[in-house]
Amino acid sequence: MEENVGLFVIDLSGCDNTGEIINNVSLALEIPNASGRGISLKLRDNVLNQSQLLSIKSLIESYNSELVNVETSSLITQNACESMGIKVRQAKAQKVQQPEVDEKSPMLDVDSSSVENSKIALAQPAQNIANEQNSHNMNTQNSEHTVKNTNNLNETARQNKPIQMAGNLNQFEELKKELPKEAVVDSNPAPEQTPILRQTANQTNNEVSRQNINKEIFDGLERQTITVYKKASEANLQNEEDFEEVDFYAPPTNEPVVIDNKQTIYVNQTLRSGQTLEFDGNIVIIGDCHPGSEIKAAGDITVWGVLGSIAHAGSKGNREARIRALKMNAVQLRIANCYSRRPDGGNIPYIVKSAIFTPEEARIVDDNIVLFKMANQ
């Protein structure tokens, strides 16, 4: 990895199509310390032709950065890079052959998956469907799309708004229809669980039609009752001890095991009032979350700091999702469709926020959200 010293590495191995790659690159370039540096792209088995590479290169250059090298396992991309004079690094091909496109793959039809909670929870996420044939055929169309997408994205990033890529998904649906049934899909089963702190703002596009999801979950409810979230010691639980002993990464023993190896993003900044962060996976925030901001994740939320805002874990219905923070002061904690609020008058004033930390974890116990101490485990 010596070649990567001083370079800003953007990992794009989880991307499905060219539009997504461009989105992720432009998002990553929004990060202040990315500008003016050499950029290294990790493409893995994504396929890019010369014109696509050229547009990515010019995008990078518009941020005063320079595309230094590309890591790829695709021959087409390699050739394109060489003809443009970009250094190529061979990546280990991670090809896992899947027999055919699963029509009911939960990652694909997002609408139905929002209803069937269990499916989401047990889904093998991050299926990178990159079809070589496909991107060949769609080259011209793609490049048209990409220009539009980057514009959109730059704007949304500036406004700190949740990023919704409905357009992108529609495009994908179109692709899916055109796919012959026997098409072989390259799939990258799970992102590597490396402890590297990734700087890429890997905001993705699986976040679709939030409105629909909300409607389906809450339809027919006249008024949402929000109970106060309690500490485990106060909750008077019968099985309190069981919960205390459980390792917090493992699900409770008598529950079905949930495999949750979705992508995780690391956000190394303080979330301020009015800012929202949405992601279809786990979120780790290194910093505080001030009141007035909102975090929404399909998986877990971990805050290395004071959580003082609204946090919604398992937003697509995963009731096993957890929220943990060094200091829990959340205005509201939401897990799946279970909502809870801070007790009245329980606000920690700004002055004492840096005092002793009491790491706590929130999870659902009998339809209530309960806080468990994470110390002494």
């Binding site: 909300n214 929000i226 009015g274 929202t276």
Partner: protein
């Protein structure tokens, strides 16, 4: 039932629009009226904080407008008074998320169920102001006895007069400090009323209790001993049509001052 829609506005920021909305709303509700407070300061909401309802908000006015929930679901009931409801603003959006027509529609719907609809207007005269004023048929213009606030209030009154729907506007002079007026360092309430030539609805003295009540999330009208609280109660009574004399905010504190005041009045007469 047709309630009256009152917008609380000022032009200048920081003169106490939100504090006034929260207190008048609470006072009206305490008097047995059904009251709903609408925060139209989208992106910079504070009204929920003053009422201590921050942790109860699930849906906001933007969710109502974008049809993610029913209007009823978005109304947050007050902790103490079930007659008081809050329709909160969204914090993660901006003023352009709602337009005048939509707010007008919300007001029309709420009119049928509530006696008073108080709209907390954002500072400025842009979209946010236009939205807040759209559905209103009465206005309370809040100002402080300072030149900058008075000039902005004058501009606002001009804009309100141009609106046909707003039948009536009244002036509320906030943060009055009697001892500064005495030494001629602050404009008196009479001066303010004369400059703006508008009907007066209340005079609120400067009170440090307002700051503590804001931090606690409890309106100061709940504090019987506070002078500002009493003044807000009186404003609420005037809104209901009662004729209440203006509070003597220049209350003598001890016996010596009482005697002094007694004699100074005699001499003037």
């Amino acid at each position: 039932m047709t309630g009256s829609v009152i917008v609380i506005t000022s032009g200048k920021g920081g003169v106490g629009k939100t504090t006034t909305s929260a207190n008048i709303g609470t006072a009206l509700a305490k008097g047995g009226n059904k009251v709903v407070l609408i925060d139209t300061d989208i992106g910079l909401r504070n009204l929920d904080l003053l009422l201590g309802l921050e942790n109860r908000i699930v849906y906001t006015i933007v969710d109502v407008v974008e049809e993610r929930c029913k209007l009823k679901q978005a109304l947050v009931k007050d902790k103490k008074n079930p007659n008081l409801c809050l329709l909160a603003a969204a914090q993660t959006r901006d003023k352009s998320a709602v337009n005048s027509e939509q707010l007008k529609e919300i007001c029309e719907t709420l009119k049928e169920e509530f006696d008073y609809i108080l709209i907390d207007c954002p500072a400025g005269i842009e979209q946010g102001f236009q939205n807040a004023v759209a559905g209103a048929n009465e206005a309370i213009v809040v100002t402080t006895p300072e030149m900058s606030a008075i000039r902005d209030a004058d501009r606002i009154i001009g804009l309100l007069e141009a609106k046909e729907e707003v039948k009536k506007y009244r002036l509320l002079v906030n943060r009055v400090r009697p001892n500064l007026i005495k030494t001629n360092d602050m404009m008196s309430v009479e001066d303010v009323v004369e400059i703006l030539s508008a009907e007066l609805i209340g005079v609120i003295p400067e009170d440090t209790g307002v700051i503590t009540s804001t931090n606690k999330g409890e309106p100061i009208v709940n504090d019987e001993n506070s002078l500002a609280g009493q003044a807000y109660n009186n404003v609420a009574k005037r809104i209901q049509g009662e004729d209440v004399p203006f509070l003597d905010i220049d209350k003598p504190k001890n016996l010596v001052e009482k005697i002094k005041k007694f004699f100074s009045k005699k001499v003037k007469a």
